[in-house]
Protein backbone atom coordinates (compact mmCIF):
# COMPACT_ATOMS: atom_id res chain seq x y z
CA UNK A 1 0.00 0.00 0.00
CA UNK A 2 2.80 2.38 0.90
CA UNK A 3 4.32 1.71 -2.52
CA UNK A 4 1.06 2.57 -4.21
CA UNK A 5 0.73 5.83 -2.27
CA UNK A 6 4.25 6.77 -3.37
CA UNK A 7 3.32 6.63 -7.06
CA UNK A 8 0.01 8.51 -6.97
CA UNK A 9 1.56 11.53 -8.71
CA UNK A 10 2.32 9.37 -11.73
CA UNK A 11 -1.12 7.73 -11.59
CA UNK A 12 -2.99 11.04 -11.36
CA UNK A 13 -0.86 12.53 -14.14
CA UNK A 14 -1.53 9.55 -16.40
CA UNK A 15 -5.25 9.56 -15.68
CA UNK A 16 -5.36 13.17 -16.86
CA UNK A 17 -3.53 12.18 -20.03
CA UNK A 18 -5.19 8.86 -20.90
CA UNK A 19 -8.68 8.77 -19.42
CA UNK A 20 -9.90 12.34 -19.01
CA UNK A 21 -13.35 13.19 -20.37
CA UNK A 22 -12.23 13.62 -23.98
CA UNK A 23 -10.22 10.40 -23.90
CA UNK A 24 -13.00 8.39 -22.23
CA UNK A 25 -15.24 9.18 -25.17
CA UNK A 26 -12.47 9.01 -27.82
CA UNK A 27 -11.24 5.61 -26.58
CA UNK A 28 -14.75 4.16 -26.64
CA UNK A 29 -15.49 5.77 -30.00
CA UNK A 30 -12.31 4.32 -31.48
CA UNK A 31 -13.21 0.90 -30.06
CA UNK A 32 -16.71 1.09 -31.52
CA UNK A 33 -15.45 2.03 -34.98
CA UNK A 34 -12.07 0.35 -35.34
CA UNK A 35 -12.14 -2.38 -32.68
CA UNK A 36 -8.59 -2.86 -31.32
CA UNK A 37 -6.99 -1.90 -34.65
CA UNK A 38 -5.56 1.30 -33.10
CA UNK A 39 -4.35 -0.34 -29.87
CA UNK A 40 -0.74 -0.14 -31.08
CA UNK A 41 -0.94 3.68 -30.96
CA UNK A 42 -1.64 3.55 -27.23
CA UNK A 43 1.41 1.33 -26.74
CA UNK A 44 3.58 3.69 -28.81
CA UNK A 45 2.19 6.64 -26.82
CA UNK A 46 2.85 5.00 -23.44
CA UNK A 47 6.49 4.36 -24.38
CA UNK A 48 6.89 7.96 -25.59
CA UNK A 49 5.43 9.59 -22.50
CA UNK A 50 7.47 7.24 -20.27
CA UNK A 51 10.70 8.30 -22.04
CA UNK A 52 10.05 12.01 -21.69
CA UNK A 53 8.36 11.98 -18.27
CA UNK A 54 11.34 10.02 -16.94
CA UNK A 55 13.67 12.75 -18.27
CA UNK A 56 11.47 15.51 -16.83
CA UNK A 57 11.34 13.73 -13.46
CA UNK A 58 15.10 13.24 -13.45
CA UNK A 59 15.67 16.92 -14.31
CA UNK A 60 13.40 17.99 -11.43
CA UNK A 61 15.01 15.65 -8.92
CA UNK A 62 18.52 16.83 -9.83
CA UNK A 63 18.02 20.54 -10.57
CA UNK A 64 14.68 21.47 -9.00
CA UNK A 65 13.58 23.06 -12.27
CA UNK A 66 10.15 22.17 -13.70
CA UNK A 67 9.47 21.84 -17.42
CA UNK A 68 8.10 25.24 -18.34
CA UNK A 69 10.95 26.95 -16.52
CA UNK A 70 13.28 25.07 -18.90
CA UNK A 71 11.19 25.81 -21.98
CA UNK A 72 11.73 29.52 -21.62
CA UNK A 73 15.35 29.10 -20.61
CA UNK A 74 16.27 26.99 -23.65
CA UNK A 75 13.92 28.40 -26.29
CA UNK A 76 14.26 32.04 -25.23
CA UNK A 77 11.54 34.56 -24.58
CA UNK A 78 9.90 34.65 -28.03
CA UNK A 79 9.74 30.97 -28.99
CA UNK A 80 8.97 30.29 -25.34
CA UNK A 81 6.01 32.62 -25.62
CA UNK A 82 4.65 30.79 -28.68
CA UNK A 83 4.92 27.51 -26.77
CA UNK A 84 3.27 29.14 -23.75
CA UNK A 85 0.30 30.38 -25.76
CA UNK A 86 -0.25 27.06 -27.56
CA UNK A 87 0.17 24.87 -24.51
CA UNK A 88 -1.82 27.20 -22.26
CA UNK A 89 -4.74 27.11 -24.72
CA UNK A 90 -4.70 23.28 -24.90
CA UNK A 91 -4.65 23.13 -21.13
CA UNK A 92 -7.42 25.70 -20.72
CA UNK A 93 -9.65 23.99 -23.31
CA UNK A 94 -9.06 20.68 -21.56
CA UNK A 95 -9.88 22.25 -18.19
CA UNK A 96 -13.17 23.54 -19.65
CA UNK A 97 -13.96 20.04 -20.94
CA UNK A 98 -13.07 18.42 -17.59
CA UNK A 99 -15.34 20.73 -15.58
CA UNK A 100 -18.06 19.78 -18.07
CA UNK A 101 -17.06 16.12 -17.63
CA UNK A 102 -17.39 16.27 -13.85
CA UNK A 103 -20.83 17.83 -14.37
CA UNK A 104 -21.78 15.10 -16.89
CA UNK A 105 -20.70 12.36 -14.47
CA UNK A 106 -22.85 14.00 -11.78
CA UNK A 107 -25.75 14.16 -14.24
CA UNK A 108 -25.41 10.43 -14.98
CA UNK A 109 -25.43 9.67 -11.26
CA UNK A 110 -28.19 12.07 -10.19
CA UNK A 111 -30.40 12.68 -13.23
CA UNK A 112 -30.06 16.44 -12.64
CA UNK A 113 -29.10 18.39 -15.82
CA UNK A 114 -25.34 18.88 -16.11
CA UNK A 115 -25.45 22.65 -16.61
CA UNK A 116 -26.65 23.02 -13.04
CA UNK A 117 -23.62 21.08 -11.84
CA UNK A 118 -21.09 23.19 -13.78
CA UNK A 119 -20.63 26.09 -11.29
CA UNK A 120 -20.59 23.67 -8.36
CA UNK A 121 -17.96 21.49 -10.06
CA UNK A 122 -15.74 24.51 -10.79
CA UNK A 123 -16.03 25.82 -7.23
CA UNK A 124 -15.25 22.37 -5.84
CA UNK A 125 -12.10 22.20 -8.00
CA UNK A 126 -11.03 25.63 -6.79
CA UNK A 127 -11.68 24.75 -3.13
CA UNK A 128 -9.51 21.65 -3.39
CA UNK A 129 -6.70 23.69 -4.99
CA UNK A 130 -7.07 26.44 -2.40
CA UNK A 131 -7.23 24.25 0.70
CA UNK A 132 -6.02 20.68 0.20
CA UNK A 133 -2.40 19.62 0.48
CA UNK A 134 -0.82 18.53 -2.81
CA UNK A 135 0.03 15.01 -1.68
CA UNK A 136 -3.48 14.42 -0.32
CA UNK A 137 -5.05 15.68 -3.55
CA UNK A 138 -2.94 13.36 -5.66
CA UNK A 139 -3.60 10.35 -3.39
CA UNK A 140 -7.38 10.78 -3.22
CA UNK A 141 -8.00 11.42 -6.92
CA UNK A 142 -5.24 9.17 -8.24
CA UNK A 143 -6.41 6.15 -6.24
CA UNK A 144 -10.15 6.75 -6.79
CA UNK A 145 -9.48 7.12 -10.51
CA UNK A 146 -8.11 3.58 -10.44
CA UNK A 147 -11.72 2.40 -10.00
CA UNK A 148 -11.83 2.73 -13.80
CA UNK A 149 -10.18 -0.71 -13.67
CA UNK A 150 -13.88 -1.67 -13.60
CA UNK A 151 -13.67 -1.41 -17.40
CA UNK A 152 -11.02 -4.15 -17.48
CA UNK A 153 -13.14 -6.34 -15.17
CA UNK A 154 -16.18 -5.67 -17.35
CA UNK A 155 -14.26 -6.64 -20.48
CA UNK A 156 -13.29 -9.92 -18.81
CA UNK A 157 -16.89 -10.57 -17.71
CA UNK A 158 -18.23 -9.86 -21.19
CA UNK A 159 -16.34 -12.98 -22.23
CA UNK A 160 -15.11 -11.71 -25.59
CA UNK A 161 -13.41 -13.80 -28.25
CA UNK A 162 -9.84 -12.95 -27.18
CA UNK A 163 -8.41 -14.42 -30.36
CA UNK A 164 -10.54 -12.01 -32.37
CA UNK A 165 -9.44 -9.00 -30.26
CA UNK A 166 -5.80 -10.05 -30.68
CA UNK A 167 -6.35 -10.43 -34.40
CA UNK A 168 -7.75 -6.88 -34.55
CA UNK A 169 -4.82 -5.54 -32.53
CA UNK A 170 -2.34 -7.13 -34.92
CA UNK A 171 -4.04 -5.88 -38.11
CA UNK A 172 -3.35 -2.16 -37.92
CA UNK A 173 -5.58 -0.87 -40.70
CA UNK A 174 -9.12 0.50 -41.11
CA UNK A 175 -12.07 -1.83 -41.78
CA UNK A 176 -15.53 -1.57 -43.31
CA UNK A 177 -16.52 1.94 -44.28
CA UNK A 178 -13.56 3.56 -42.52
CA UNK A 179 -10.90 5.27 -44.63
CA UNK A 180 -7.17 5.57 -44.04
CA UNK A 181 -7.70 9.29 -43.38
CA UNK A 182 -10.05 8.79 -40.42
CA UNK A 183 -7.80 5.99 -39.20
CA UNK A 184 -4.80 8.35 -39.29
CA UNK A 185 -6.81 11.13 -37.64
CA UNK A 186 -7.69 8.94 -34.66
CA UNK A 187 -4.16 7.55 -34.51
CA UNK A 188 -2.89 11.12 -34.06
CA UNK A 189 -5.65 11.95 -31.56
CA UNK A 190 -4.69 8.92 -29.41
CA UNK A 191 -0.96 9.64 -29.71
CA UNK A 192 -1.52 13.32 -28.89
CA UNK A 193 -3.63 12.37 -25.86
CA UNK A 194 -0.92 10.03 -24.58
CA UNK A 195 1.74 12.74 -24.90
CA UNK A 196 -0.42 15.76 -24.13
CA UNK A 197 1.87 18.56 -22.90
CA UNK A 198 0.21 19.28 -19.56
CA UNK A 199 1.22 15.82 -18.35
CA UNK A 200 4.89 16.81 -18.17
CA UNK A 201 4.02 20.28 -16.82
CA UNK A 202 1.97 18.72 -14.04
CA UNK A 203 4.32 15.82 -13.37
CA UNK A 204 7.47 17.94 -13.11
CA UNK A 205 5.76 20.70 -11.11
CA UNK A 206 4.34 17.99 -8.85
CA UNK A 207 7.90 16.81 -8.27
CA UNK A 208 8.78 20.31 -7.05
CA UNK A 209 5.62 20.41 -4.89
CA UNK A 210 6.77 17.14 -3.34
CA UNK A 211 10.27 18.60 -2.84
CA UNK A 212 12.04 15.87 -4.82
CA UNK A 213 15.83 15.88 -4.69
CA UNK A 214 18.50 13.50 -5.94
CA UNK A 215 17.48 10.89 -3.37
CA UNK A 216 14.07 10.73 -5.07
CA UNK A 217 15.30 9.57 -8.47
CA UNK A 218 13.85 6.12 -7.81
CA UNK A 219 10.51 7.60 -6.72
CA UNK A 220 10.39 9.69 -9.88
CA UNK A 221 11.10 6.65 -12.03
CA UNK A 222 8.60 4.34 -10.35
CA UNK A 223 5.93 7.05 -10.73
CA UNK A 224 6.62 7.09 -14.45
CA UNK A 225 6.89 3.36 -15.05
CA UNK A 226 3.81 2.44 -12.98
CA UNK A 227 1.57 5.45 -13.63
CA UNK A 228 1.66 5.79 -17.41
CA UNK A 229 1.35 2.09 -18.35
CA UNK A 230 -1.64 1.92 -15.98
CA UNK A 231 -3.18 4.88 -17.80
CA UNK A 232 -2.60 3.13 -21.12
CA UNK A 233 -4.13 -0.09 -19.80
CA UNK A 234 -7.29 1.72 -18.69
CA UNK A 235 -7.58 3.36 -22.08
CA UNK A 236 -7.23 -0.04 -23.83
CA UNK A 237 -9.85 -1.60 -21.54
CA UNK A 238 -12.35 1.15 -22.42
CA UNK A 239 -11.70 0.65 -26.14
CA UNK A 240 -11.99 -3.13 -25.64
CA UNK A 241 -15.42 -2.86 -23.97
CA UNK A 242 -16.67 -0.69 -26.83
CA UNK A 243 -15.16 -3.06 -29.41
CA UNK A 244 -17.03 -6.00 -27.90
CA UNK A 245 -20.39 -4.30 -27.32
CA UNK A 246 -20.73 -1.74 -30.09
CA UNK A 247 -18.53 -2.77 -33.05
CA UNK A 248 -20.60 -5.84 -34.08
CA UNK A 249 -23.80 -3.81 -33.71
CA UNK A 250 -22.40 -0.98 -35.81
CA UNK A 251 -23.16 1.63 -33.11
CA UNK A 252 -20.88 4.67 -32.90
CA UNK A 253 -20.22 5.89 -29.34
CA UNK A 254 -20.82 9.60 -28.77
CA UNK A 255 -21.88 10.11 -25.15
CA UNK A 256 -20.52 9.33 -21.71
CA UNK A 257 -23.59 7.21 -21.01
CA UNK A 258 -22.69 4.92 -23.92
CA UNK A 259 -19.09 4.72 -22.68
CA UNK A 260 -20.15 3.33 -19.30
CA UNK A 261 -23.03 1.13 -20.52
CA UNK A 262 -20.86 -1.99 -21.13
CA UNK A 263 -19.87 -2.01 -17.44
CA UNK A 264 -23.57 -2.06 -16.48
CA UNK A 265 -24.16 -4.94 -18.92
CA UNK A 266 -21.26 -6.96 -17.56
CA UNK A 267 -21.29 -6.07 -13.86
CA UNK A 268 -24.79 -4.76 -13.12
CA UNK A 269 -25.76 -1.65 -11.19
CA UNK A 270 -23.01 -2.01 -8.60
CA UNK A 271 -20.34 -2.27 -11.29
CA UNK A 272 -21.73 0.77 -13.03
CA UNK A 273 -21.75 2.71 -9.75
CA UNK A 274 -18.09 1.85 -9.10
CA UNK A 275 -17.09 2.90 -12.62
CA UNK A 276 -19.08 6.14 -12.31
CA UNK A 277 -17.13 7.01 -9.14
CA UNK A 278 -14.01 6.28 -11.18
CA UNK A 279 -15.20 8.54 -14.01
CA UNK A 280 -15.98 11.29 -11.51
CA UNK A 281 -12.57 10.96 -9.85
CA UNK A 282 -10.71 10.79 -13.17
CA UNK A 283 -12.41 13.87 -14.62
CA UNK A 284 -12.11 15.73 -11.31
CA UNK A 285 -8.46 14.71 -11.11
CA UNK A 286 -7.91 15.85 -14.69
CA UNK A 287 -9.64 19.15 -13.85
CA UNK A 288 -7.23 19.63 -10.93
CA UNK A 289 -4.27 18.69 -13.16
CA UNK A 290 -5.22 21.12 -15.91
CA UNK A 291 -6.27 23.97 -13.59
CA UNK A 292 -2.96 23.74 -11.74
CA UNK A 293 -1.08 23.41 -15.04
CA UNK A 294 -2.66 26.65 -16.32
CA UNK A 295 -1.10 28.35 -13.30
CA UNK A 296 2.18 26.44 -13.52
CA UNK A 297 2.89 27.28 -17.17
CA UNK A 298 2.29 31.04 -16.92
CA UNK A 299 4.03 31.40 -13.54
CA UNK A 300 7.05 29.37 -14.64
CA UNK A 301 7.39 31.27 -17.91
CA UNK A 302 7.33 34.56 -16.01
CA UNK A 303 9.40 33.33 -13.06
CA UNK A 304 6.65 34.05 -10.51
CA UNK A 305 6.41 32.28 -7.19
CA UNK A 306 4.00 29.38 -7.76
CA UNK A 307 2.81 26.20 -6.16
CA UNK A 308 0.80 24.76 -3.34
CA UNK A 309 3.89 24.30 -1.21
CA UNK A 310 3.57 27.95 -0.14
CA UNK A 311 0.54 29.73 1.35
CA UNK A 312 -1.86 31.10 -1.31
CA UNK A 313 -0.98 34.75 -0.48
CA UNK A 314 2.69 34.06 -1.20
CA UNK A 315 1.83 32.92 -4.74
CA UNK A 316 -0.94 35.43 -5.41
CA UNK A 317 -0.54 35.69 -9.18
CA UNK A 318 -0.45 31.90 -9.56
CA UNK A 319 -3.73 31.56 -7.67
CA UNK A 320 -5.28 34.47 -9.57
CA UNK A 321 -4.52 32.75 -12.90
CA UNK A 322 -6.27 29.59 -11.69
CA UNK A 323 -9.33 31.54 -10.48
CA UNK A 324 -9.62 33.37 -13.82
CA UNK A 325 -9.31 30.09 -15.76
CA UNK A 326 -12.08 28.48 -13.68
CA UNK A 327 -14.36 31.48 -14.20
CA UNK A 328 -13.69 31.24 -17.96
CA UNK A 329 -14.55 27.54 -17.80
CA UNK A 330 -17.91 28.22 -16.13
CA UNK A 331 -18.80 30.97 -18.61
CA UNK A 332 -17.85 28.85 -21.64
CA UNK A 333 -19.79 25.81 -20.46
CA UNK A 334 -22.90 27.83 -19.63
CA UNK A 335 -23.21 28.65 -23.35
CA UNK A 336 -24.21 24.93 -23.53
CA UNK A 337 -21.23 24.02 -25.74
CA UNK A 338 -20.66 20.23 -25.80
CA UNK A 339 -17.78 19.53 -23.36
CA UNK A 340 -16.66 16.52 -25.37
CA UNK A 341 -16.43 18.62 -28.57
CA UNK A 342 -14.24 21.15 -26.76
CA UNK A 343 -11.46 18.59 -26.39
CA UNK A 344 -11.48 17.96 -30.14
CA UNK A 345 -10.47 21.54 -30.78
CA UNK A 346 -7.70 21.32 -28.25
CA UNK A 347 -6.01 18.84 -30.62
CA UNK A 348 -5.11 21.79 -32.86
CA UNK A 349 -3.23 23.63 -30.14
CA UNK A 350 -1.72 20.45 -28.77
CA UNK A 351 -0.26 19.79 -32.21
CA UNK A 352 1.57 23.12 -32.19
CA UNK A 353 2.77 22.74 -28.61
CA UNK A 354 4.03 19.14 -28.76
CA UNK A 355 7.53 19.38 -30.32
CA UNK A 356 8.33 22.67 -28.58
CA UNK A 357 7.39 21.16 -25.21
CA UNK A 358 9.56 18.08 -25.51
CA UNK A 359 12.67 19.48 -27.23
CA UNK A 360 13.85 21.54 -24.19
CA UNK A 361 13.43 18.51 -21.90
CA UNK A 362 15.70 16.50 -24.18
CA UNK A 363 18.30 19.30 -24.34
CA UNK A 364 18.44 19.82 -20.57
CA UNK A 365 18.51 16.06 -19.89
CA UNK A 366 21.79 16.07 -21.84
CA UNK A 367 23.28 19.12 -20.06
CA UNK A 368 25.82 18.13 -17.38
CA UNK A 369 25.40 21.58 -15.80
CA UNK A 370 21.97 20.42 -14.68
CA UNK A 371 22.33 16.69 -14.56
CA UNK A 372 25.89 16.05 -13.37
CA UNK A 373 26.65 12.44 -14.28
CA UNK A 374 22.97 11.60 -14.78
CA UNK A 375 22.74 12.81 -18.38
CA UNK A 376 20.97 10.68 -21.01
CA UNK A 377 22.77 7.68 -22.48
CA UNK A 378 23.06 7.24 -26.27
CA UNK A 379 20.31 4.58 -26.49
CA UNK A 380 17.84 6.82 -24.66
CA UNK A 381 18.77 9.76 -26.89
CA UNK A 382 18.28 7.62 -29.99
CA UNK A 383 14.72 6.72 -29.01
CA UNK A 384 13.97 10.22 -27.72
CA UNK A 385 14.97 11.62 -31.12
CA UNK A 386 12.72 9.13 -32.92
CA UNK A 387 9.85 10.29 -30.74
CA UNK A 388 10.69 13.92 -31.41
CA UNK A 389 10.35 13.07 -35.11
CA UNK A 390 6.99 11.37 -34.48
CA UNK A 391 5.78 14.40 -32.51
CA UNK A 392 6.83 16.70 -35.32
CA UNK A 393 5.05 14.50 -37.86
CA UNK A 394 1.91 14.43 -35.71
CA UNK A 395 2.00 18.20 -35.27
CA UNK A 396 2.28 18.78 -39.02
CA UNK A 397 -0.43 16.26 -39.95
CA UNK A 398 -2.95 17.01 -37.18
CA UNK A 399 -4.57 20.14 -38.56
CA UNK A 400 -4.86 19.07 -42.24
CA UNK A 401 -6.28 15.69 -41.17
CA UNK A 402 -8.75 17.40 -38.87
CA UNK A 403 -9.98 19.57 -41.73
CA UNK A 404 -10.09 16.80 -44.36
CA UNK A 405 -11.91 14.30 -42.13
CA UNK A 406 -14.11 16.98 -40.48
CA UNK A 407 -12.66 15.90 -37.10
CA UNK A 408 -12.94 12.19 -37.79
CA UNK A 409 -16.48 11.95 -39.17
Amino acid sequence: MKRLVGVTLGILTAIGGFVDIGDLVTNALVGSRFGMRLAWVVVVGVIGICLYAEMAGRVVALSGRPVFDLIRERLGRRTGLVTLIASFLVTLLTLIAEIGGVALALELASGVQYLLWVPLAAIAVWLVIWRVKFSRLEQVFGLLGLLLIGFAVALWQLGPDWGDLMHQATTPRPTGNESWLTYAYYAIALFGAAMTPYEVFFFSSGGVEEKWNRRDLVTARSNVFIGFPLGGLLSLAIAGCAAVVYLPAGIEVGTLGQVTLPTAMALGQLGLAVVLVGVFAATFGAALETALSCGYTIAQYRGWQWGKLVRPREASRFHLVIIICLVLAILTLLTAVDPVKVTEYSVVFAAMALPLTYLPILIIANDPDYMGRHTNGPVLNFFALIYLGLLLLASIAAIPLMIVTKAGQ
Binding site: W304, P312, R313
Partner: protein, 98 residues
Protein backbone atom coordinates in the same frame (compact mmCIF):
# COMPACT_ATOMS: atom_id res chain seq x y z
CA UNK B 1 32.37 36.78 -9.40
CA UNK B 2 33.37 33.16 -9.68
CA UNK B 3 36.85 32.33 -10.79
CA UNK B 4 37.60 29.39 -13.05
CA UNK B 5 34.15 28.96 -14.63
CA UNK B 6 33.22 30.18 -18.07
CA UNK B 7 29.70 31.56 -18.24
CA UNK B 8 27.83 32.11 -21.42
CA UNK B 9 25.50 35.09 -21.02
CA UNK B 10 22.88 33.72 -23.39
CA UNK B 11 23.00 30.21 -21.93
CA UNK B 12 23.64 30.79 -18.24
CA UNK B 13 22.06 34.16 -17.58
CA UNK B 14 19.27 35.12 -19.98
CA UNK B 15 15.82 33.73 -19.16
CA UNK B 16 17.13 31.97 -16.07
CA UNK B 17 15.03 31.75 -12.90
CA UNK B 18 15.91 34.17 -10.08
CA UNK B 19 15.56 33.01 -6.50
CA UNK B 20 16.16 34.51 -3.08
CA UNK B 21 19.23 32.78 -1.64
CA UNK B 22 17.77 32.91 1.89
CA UNK B 23 14.37 31.26 1.46
CA UNK B 24 14.32 30.09 -2.17
CA UNK B 25 11.44 32.41 -3.04
CA UNK B 26 11.06 32.74 -6.83
CA UNK B 27 11.67 36.32 -7.93
CA UNK B 28 11.29 36.42 -11.72
CA UNK B 29 13.29 35.66 -14.84
CA UNK B 30 16.38 37.40 -16.17
CA UNK B 31 15.00 39.54 -19.03
CA UNK B 32 18.23 41.29 -19.90
CA UNK B 33 21.87 41.64 -18.96
CA UNK B 34 23.64 44.97 -18.44
CA UNK B 35 27.26 45.01 -19.58
CA UNK B 36 29.94 47.40 -18.43
CA UNK B 37 31.92 48.05 -21.63
CA UNK B 38 34.19 50.63 -20.01
CA UNK B 39 36.00 48.05 -17.96
CA UNK B 40 39.15 46.46 -19.40
CA UNK B 41 37.30 43.28 -20.27
CA UNK B 42 33.52 43.75 -20.63
CA UNK B 43 31.84 42.53 -17.45
CA UNK B 44 28.23 41.92 -16.50
CA UNK B 45 27.36 44.78 -14.20
CA UNK B 46 23.71 43.99 -13.56
CA UNK B 47 20.79 41.70 -14.39
CA UNK B 48 17.40 43.13 -15.36
CA UNK B 49 14.21 41.39 -14.28
CA UNK B 50 10.75 42.87 -14.70
CA UNK B 51 12.25 46.34 -15.09
CA UNK B 52 14.21 46.04 -11.83
CA UNK B 53 18.01 46.34 -11.94
CA UNK B 54 19.87 43.75 -9.87
CA UNK B 55 23.51 44.84 -9.40
CA UNK B 56 26.07 42.09 -9.97
CA UNK B 57 27.19 42.50 -6.37
CA UNK B 58 23.88 41.04 -5.21
CA UNK B 59 24.25 37.92 -7.33
CA UNK B 60 25.38 35.19 -4.97
CA UNK B 61 25.48 32.05 -7.08
CA UNK B 62 24.69 31.00 -10.65
CA UNK B 63 23.26 27.55 -10.38
CA UNK B 64 20.26 25.93 -12.12
CA UNK B 65 18.60 29.08 -10.76
CA UNK B 66 20.38 32.36 -10.03
CA UNK B 67 20.52 32.94 -6.29
CA UNK B 68 20.47 36.60 -5.32
CA UNK B 69 20.59 38.66 -2.12
CA UNK B 70 17.27 40.46 -2.33
CA UNK B 71 18.14 43.40 -0.05
CA UNK B 72 15.64 46.18 -0.71
CA UNK B 73 15.04 45.28 -4.38
CA UNK B 74 11.35 45.58 -5.19
CA UNK B 75 10.81 42.36 -7.13
CA UNK B 76 7.45 41.47 -5.58
CA UNK B 77 5.46 44.56 -6.54
CA UNK B 78 2.94 42.82 -8.82
CA UNK B 79 2.49 39.85 -6.53
CA UNK B 80 1.90 42.18 -3.57
CA UNK B 81 -0.65 44.15 -5.59
CA UNK B 82 -2.63 41.01 -6.47
CA UNK B 83 -2.29 39.85 -2.88
CA UNK B 84 -3.72 43.06 -1.44
CA UNK B 85 -6.47 43.59 -4.00
CA UNK B 86 -7.67 40.03 -4.62
CA UNK B 87 -6.17 37.10 -2.80
CA UNK B 88 -6.25 38.51 0.74
CA UNK B 89 -10.00 39.08 0.42
CA UNK B 90 -10.56 35.32 0.17
CA UNK B 91 -10.74 33.44 3.49
CA UNK B 92 -7.79 31.14 4.07
CA UNK B 93 -5.32 33.09 1.94
CA UNK B 94 -2.74 33.05 4.71
CA UNK B 95 -3.22 29.44 5.76
CA UNK B 96 -0.98 26.57 4.87
CA UNK B 97 -2.88 23.80 3.06
CA UNK B 98 -3.91 20.73 5.04
Amino acid sequence: MMAGRVLHAQLHLLDRQLADQRDGRLLGKVDDVELDLDAEVPVVSALIAGGVRIPASQVIEIDTAIQIRRGDLDLDRQDDWVEQHVIDHIPGAGDATE
